[in-house]
Subunit: 193 residues, 2 copies
DNA sequence: GCATGCATGTAAGAAGTTACATGATTGT
DNA sequence: ACAATCATGTAACTTCTTACATGCATGC
């Protein structure tokens, strides 16, 4: 109904509020810090940055000449942008819409193809363990800084969320494997008395 | 690049494989069982069902006259559809793309607006507790059936995933609240020696 | 010489949501 | 009388991804 840029707008404003950035570096920031909980493509970022400028939420300080030959455009949040960010911050966040393809496969395939599902679960466990390790790496870095620096709390809480999430998913998958194999045994017992 | 229907196709096939259904009842099934991990709208379901028929993955057994005046169309999976479902089942599931808006807000707002973030976290905790209770309700029902019925294992594992997920999220939010208030205290100490 | 990283951008298309139209039945 | 549930469907729109084009600098 409303012509809007969805939520892309706000992650851009939020990152700009930390420091003025180029579209490219915003993409890198998202990949670095939010990859596990949010993603944006260039196809979203560049057009949205233009819209933000049009709406007076950001300003460009073009540096036509740069260290490397390419021109770069640095975007800075304006006061109006800051206010808009604040407005969004105070709104109740949307309920997240999850789509776990593995769950569909588990649900549709456990009884007919328990071996395949078991393999998927193994891969899922490995994937979640890898993410978990990444999160713990982040947390160690933050702990080593040891200071009560306010500017890292946000990043720390993001990593902590990942830690909780990936642990839960790993644990679930392990439990699921157990239940699937338990059931297979039960079925065998019924067959061979 | 490829003209496809995304993943919608497969949840429809998966549900049809359990029993022939109408588009409407498929929607209800998704809402009932997968709501927390998958969602589809009528705008996706009806056109996709037509495509499935075109591709020979489903058949219609139209019941022009029904108990209520409206005509209903029951979709049944074909052998080819069954094979297609099987093919998808054996493929490695995609990495899920999460988008947690609350995490952006926490990350961007903890230091500047700790009170607002605290409120968001309270609401988030309540929301996750409600979902958790729902999942535990499901699990109790399944345990009461008590049988080693294979056809409920899939549903049970779905509910179990929800239990793990929502517990993790609730716990994270509680920990986040604690860390935010800890930091506020630290800042106060620095101010008043 | 070639791949990669930095940097900006567009076009095409896929995927998904929302609103609406139709209409009967059942319950309040 | 009105709302809700059953039931099918479409149109308009938004949102998002993917592929591509350009081009310099640097490292292998």
């Amino acid at each position: 109904m409303k012509k809007d840029t969805g939520k892309t707008k706000y992650i851009l404003l939020g990152l700009m509020a930390k420091r003025p950035q180029t579209g490219y570096s915003i993409k890198k920031s998202i990949e670095y810090e939010f990859r596990h909980f949010w993603q944006e493509s260039f196809g979203q970022i560049y057009p949205t940055l233009k819209i933000l400028v049009d709406q007076g939420f950001a300003e460009t300080s073009e540096t036509e000449t740069t260290q490397n030959g390419r021109r770069t455009i640095t975007y800075t949040i304006t006061e109006r942008g800051q206010a808009e960010l604040q407005r969004w911050l105070s709104e109740v966040p949307d309920v997240e819409k999850l789509r776990y393809e593995i769950l569909l496969k588990v649900s549709f395939g456990t009884t007919t193809e328990p071996e395949i599902i078991d393999q998927h679960l193994d891969a899922f466990i490995a994937r979640n363990e890898a993410s978990l390790a990444e999160m713990e790496g982040f947390l160690t870095v933050f702990k080593d800084l040891e200071v009560h620096r306010t500017d890292i709390l946000g990043s720390e809480l993001t990593a902590l969320c990942g830690k909780y999430l990936y642990t839960a998913m790993k644990d679930w998958a392990m439990e699921a494997k157990k239940r699937i194999s338990d059931q297979k045994e039960l079925q065998n017992e019924t067959k061979n008395p």
